[in-house]
Structure formats: structure tokens, C-alpha cells
Amino acid sequence: MTRLIGILVGLVFTFVVLLAFVFGAWTFATEEVSPTAEHEFHLAPRHASYQFDGALGTWDYQQLQRGYQVYKEVCSACHSLKLVGLRNLAELGYTEAEVKAEAASWVVPGIDPVTGEASTRPGTPTDYFPSPYPNDVAAAAANNNAVPPDLSLITKARHHGTEYVRSLLTGYRNPDTFSVDGKRLKEEFPDFETPAGLHFNPYFPNLNLAMAPPLTTPGQVTYADGTDPTIEQMATDVSAFLTWTAEPTLVRRKQTGWPVLGFLLFATVLAWYAKKQVWAPVKPKKRKGAVTATATPGDHEA
């Protein structure tokens, strides 16, 4: 009875899903799916290598400090970094005094100690990075209705986030001349338009990005360590910095992993030999083509 009902139910589901398959296949075969510009001309992030890559990666503190400078002087005009504390700058290799000075260079919201009204004050290490806009409505109003995302986790919130940020910052192109593998965007999709107020960037999923190119001229930031501030360099540095903000424990995580892994390998090898020892008396052994039995478990005193 169970089997009869089971077969019936199974056949019903199978019939319905195969019906859907036939309809789907018919649609697929008859209806032309027109390719979209987003599909054909979207680029995967360009590969780049960083010192923190790989299982043995470490932070390049000079690079993180340069990236912090780019964030501070360029990105922070529109993008917040809410989850990062100013005290965390100490992890970039700044001394305590430098952290205090850096913190004080940020203006954070506070209250007037006498009247209690909202005011501002210089930041202290216990503050978090201040946001450029008081709320999302203000952020949208100031940016053509597009809220600039918080950057704290941006490199974890995108596939290949570090390379994505770097590619995006350096990826602005002219849509009229843009081509991939010899195919020109304007020839394949003559109707493709970048609306006013948006900017063409093939690394952005829908190709038109609200953010204007933030890194426009080499030397936009003057690096204290004398590194040549090319656009490529600034983009690389800030993407490294944003990798740190997204996961400050990244290097520590990998460095913790090795001893744990080493210990587990050691323990597992021991466990393997222990298992072999325990099982040796009851394991059958093949010898000279014939199968020979060994003692049965009862013989063996564990």
C-alpha cells in the first residue's frame, strides 16, 4: 500500500516537473534571449597581488598607512567607516602619540557640555570614524540619490573585494570607445547610454556607477614615505587599507592557523598509528595470494 501510494505521488511530481521542463525547453528553444550589455561587457576584477595574500601573508604597514591617507583625503568625503575605531589605527604601526594626533584630526559629533546641544569636537582614540553625513537621507540628497556605502566591510561584501575596489577605482572608461576582445560596446549595443550623473565603469555590475572617478590625477595625495602616488598606486594602497578595515584579524587568523594545523597533523598521525596498533590483532592479512585470518577479537586484550 505504501509502495502504491509512493509510486503514485512520485509519478505526479515527476509528471508536473517534466511538464514544466517541456514548457521551459519550448520557451528556451523558441524565444531568443537577447544579450545585455551588463552581461557582455561587465569585467571581472583585474588580478593584483598584495603582501597579505596567501596562507603566509602579512600586512605591509607602510602600504596600510598610505591607504589610510588616501581614505582620509579622498574617500572619507563621501564614505563612512563606521565599524572602525580611531584607536584601531594603532594596529597600522602608528605610535600612541600619533594615534592621538590622527584621532584629533577628525571632527566627531559631540554634545555641548553646558547646554547639551549637538556640537562637534576633535576625535579621541575611543571614538569611531565619523560619518560624512548625519544619516542616509542626507547622504542620498548630496549624492544624486545614491547613498555611498559604508566602507568598513566593503572588501568582504564583494566577490574578490580587494581587487574589485582597486579595479573599480582605476576602471573608469569612455563608453563610446570601450571595447572587450575587439567588440565595441557602442557597436554591439548602440542604445547603451550612461545617464547624466552616472559614470561608465565596466567593473561595476550594471556598468553605470553613481560615484564620479575619485582618483583623477597622479599626486592627488602626497605620500609621507615618498612613494610615487600614481593612480594605480593610490588605488592599490586604499584597497589594501580597506582589506584591513574589513578584517583587522586577517593576518592573526592565518598565523594562528599554522600552529593549530601543525598540532592537528601531529595528533592525527599519532591517532593513525594508535588505530593501527589497536586493530593489528584482528585485521586479516593477505599473504601469498591467500587470505589468512588472524586472531579474533576475543584473543586480544586491549
Partner: protein, 437 residues
């Protein structure tokens, strides 16, 4: 427990004797996973996954309780409290990655455990109750994992909660009120987050309770084994301790090495980047997918795209739930007298070349965007899924001629040479006579 030759617990130390007379906990452990539990001597490494699943449950409860000390279940701060754990709490990053990846590894282990049971027909008499309790555990795990994924309150959390509770909206008449009741609102918000948190904390302990029943039921007939032949004599078994404690110890080591690789070197490989974006009720991610362990069932849900008598959405929901619920009936659908797939040529072909590829396709399509050819592939795989469990299994068990079984586990292990030099056996489980030596 169940075999007359099982060693009886004899407390040696005075403290153990004292305890044994008052609260025989050591005796209980001795009989459950100690030397007092005789286990077939021929278990393969596929039999490690039960203990591993138990380990995963403990791992999840321990890391989860600890994370709960720092997490705040409030829609305003939930996302930030998770980042607080990642950044500020001592070892918080490790505990959270251990818990998130622990969930994935729990499912890896449990899927292998389930499919081992399917291949060796571990659901057959007298082990039906073990199997039924196992399916209950799997359902509870899915509920727990789903609610846990909502807690970080990222984009995937929010939209996952919305889409999955939306499934209940497909039920005729009561669907919509039911969905609103489940969420405590019209969209996931504080009410939903808080109840999910409460249940996410509770359910693992319910799972632990059902696991105890699962193991209890296991100890009545004893473990199955790769031949599917029941234990006949003491030489067929070895005591659980030290034989299987040693083997499980090694298996646990291998498991932990792979798990550690993910926790420390690829902690986000099994997650989705969108869940690092705070929940935004006004913007849906471009490509909503559940966690990978739900993909096969998500693919079945999406495979039903045409309204035949019932709305497609309802067909999808019915099929998705039936896909798991049909497992409850396996002991009565598959009536072959032989358990192990090793001795069932036809069943083995359907399992290895039908069910396994079908599951692979469902996994692949469930994680892919809802476009062709993925939908068509998942439709074929879904059709096979239902055919396999509900049609093929009952029919195969009627028409198949099983291969000869070994007389006993000992014979299978030692390869008892019969008169003509081949391993002799008989077809019908339980009726096979001792071959003449």
C-alpha cells in the same frame, strides 16, 4: 547491550563502584560507547560520520553559547554586534568563523551520514526507528541553520528570512496570515529576529535530545555494517572501545584538519559576500541564494515553474517538503530483503549513476541563478529524485536478483574459502546456512 557476549561493566575503583550503585553513569557510557558495546568488525570509514555529526553538534553548541554572550538580537544592533565579536571580543573572530563553518561542516558530515544510510539501506528493519529519528534530526538541523543564518542581519539573512517564510504564503487560504504570524509583522524585523534567536538557541538542545533517542534506538539492534548481514556470533564484532574509539579518533583528526583549513584560511569561502552588507529592506540582492546545504532543496523548489491544477509556487513548496518527507517512508518503499548496495546490482547502478549525479546537479543548480540551462537541468534532476525514491526503489526491490551474500561478517572479512575456492553465500538474509567447509 543487545548481544549475549557484550562485556558487562565491572567497576574496579571504589569510587566507580560507589557511583555504579547509585547513579550508573559509567555503566551507561561503557555500554553505549565503551567496551560493553559490540560493533560489527567490518565497518568502513563511512561509519565514522555518526560520531563526527555528534562532535559537530557539540562544537556548534559550545561555540554558539559563547557567541550568544556577545551577540545582541535587535535589528538595530545585530549586524554591528557580530562585527563587535569579529573585531573586539577576545578570539571572537575565531569563535564566529568556527561556528559559521561548523554549520557547513555539520551538514557535510550529515549528508555523508544520510547517503551512507541510503546506500547500505540502514533504514531497513529492524532499524526503521533510527532512520525516522535521523530524518527528524535533519529537519531540526535545517530549521536551526536557517534561523542561525538570519541572526547576523545582513542582506542574505534578511532576504533569506523573507523568501523562506514566503514559502508558507503559498499554502492556500491560511498562507498569508501564517506568514505574517511567523514573522510577527509584514516583513522580517525585530520580532522575527528575536524569535529566530530564541528558537536558534533552543533547537540545538532539542536536536541533542533526539540524538540521544537516535543512539538509543541504534543500540537495540546494534550498528549495521557494509555487508548488511546481521551479526551472528561474537567473532563478527569487536568492542566499541578501543577499536572504534581509535578509528573514530583518527577520523576526527582528519575531519578537524579539513575544518581548520576552512576556519583559518578560507573562512568566508562557504558564505556569501552579501551577508557583510547590513540588511536593507528596500533593496534585494541581485542573486539570492540560501546557504549551500539547502541548494538541492532550493533547486527542487524552483524547478516547478508551470501552473498545472495548482499554482507553480505551491507545487514547488509541496515538492520541496515532500523531497525530505518521502525519506520517512523509505523503510516501507524499499522491500528488498538485502540491505547492502554491494549485493544489489540494479539498486547500486541507480544509486551511483542516478541518485548521486542527480544530487550533484541539484546542488549545482540550487546555487546557480534562476536562468537556463540551470532550471531545465534542475527539472530533470528533480524528476529523477522523485522517481528514484518513490518509483524506482519500490520496483527495483521487486524485480532485482541480489548477488550472493556472505554467510557472516566474519566470513566477509576473512573471505572464507569455500570448497570451490569462491566465497559462498546465499541470497536471502537470515536464511543463509553455514557453507560447508
Amino acid at each position: 547491550m543487545s548481544f549475549p557476549w557484550a562485556k558487562a561493566y565491572e567497576p574496579k575503583a571504589p569510587l566507580m563502584r560507589f557511583l555504579d550503585e547509585r547513579l550508573p553513569l559509567p555503566r551507561f557510557v561503557y555500554n553505549a560507547v565503551g567496551a560493553g558495546y559490540p560493533v560489527p568488525r567490518n565497518l568502513s570509514y563511512f561509519w565514522n560520520f555518526g560520531i563526527l555529526a555528534g562532535f559537530c553538534l557539540v562544537l556548534q553548541i559550545v561555540t554558539g553559547v559563547v557567541l550568544a554572550m556577545h551577540y545582541s538580537a535587535n535589528a538595530l544592533v545585530a549586524f554591528n554586534s557580530v562585527e563587535h565579536i569579529m573585531r573586539d571580543v577576545n578570539w571572537g573572530w575565531m569563535l564566529r568563523y568556527a561556528h559559521a563553518n561548523g554549520a557547513s561542516f555539520f551538514f557535510v558530515v550529515v549528508y555523508i551520514h544520510i547517503f551512507r544510510g541510503l546506500f547500505y539501506s540502514s533504514y531497513k528493519a529492524p532499524r526503521e526507528m533510527i532512520w525516522l529519528l535521523g530524518v527528524v534530526i535533519f529537519l531540526l538541523m535545517m530549521a536551526t541553520a536557517f534561523m542561525g543564518y538570519v541572526l547576523p542581519w545582513g542582506q542574505m539573512s534578511f532576504w533569506g528570512a523573507k523568501v523562506i517564510t514566503g514559502l508558507f504564503g503559498a499554502i492556500p487560504l491560511v498562507g498569508e496570515p501564517l506568514q505574517i504570524w511567523l514573522l510577527g509583522g509584514y516583513a522580517p524585523d525585530n520580532a522575527a529576529l528575536n524569535r529566530f534567536y530564541s528558537l536558534h538557541f533552543l533547537l540545538p538542545f532539542v536536536i541533542a535530545g533526539v540524538v540521544i533517542l537516535h543512539i538509543w534506538a541504534l543500540h537495540i539492534p546494534g550498528s549495521s555494517n557494509p555487508t548488511g548481514v546481521e551479526v551472528k556470533s561474537e567473532s563478527d564484532t569487536v568492542p566499541f572501545h578501543p577499536y572504534y574509539t581509535a578509528k573514530d579518533g583518527f577520523g576526527l583528526g582528519v575531519f578537524l584538519i579539513i575544518y581548520t583549513l576552512f576556519v583559518f584560511f578560507l573562512p568566508n569561502a562557504l558564505g556569501h559576500p552579501d551577508n557583510y552588507i547590513p540588511a536593507n529592506p528596500l533593496s534585494t540582492p541581485a542573486h539570492i541564494v540560501p546557504e549551500w546545504y539547502f541548494w538541492p532543496f532550493y533547486a527542487i523548489l524552483r524547478a516547478f515553474t508551470s501552473d498545472f491544477l495548482l499554482p507553480a509556487k505551491l507545487w514547488g513548496v509541496l515538492a520541496m517538503f515532500s523531497a525530505i518527507l518521502c525519506w520517512f517512508f523509505l523503510p516501507w518503499l524499499d522491500r528488498s530483503p538485502v540491505r547492502s548496495g554491494h549485493y544489489r546490482p540494479l539498486f547500486r547502478k541507480f544509486f551511483l549513476f542516478g541518485l548521486i549525479p542527480c544530487m550533484a546537479v541539484l546542488f549545482w543548480c540550487g546555487g546557480a541563478p534562476a536562468e537556463e540551462p540551470y532550471v531545465m537541468l534542475s527539472q530533470i534532476a528533480t524528476a529523477y529524485y522523485f522517481l528514484h525514491f518513490l518509483v524506482i526503489l519500490p520496483i527495483v526491490s521487486l524485480v532485482e536478483r541480489p548477488e550472493p551474500l556472505p554467510y557472516s561478517i566474519t566470513d566477509a572479512v576473512l573471505g572464507t574459502p569455500a570448497d570451490d575456492g569462491t566465497v559462498k553465500g546465499h541470497m536471502i538474509q537470515g536464511e543463509n546456512a553455514r557453507p560447508a567447509v
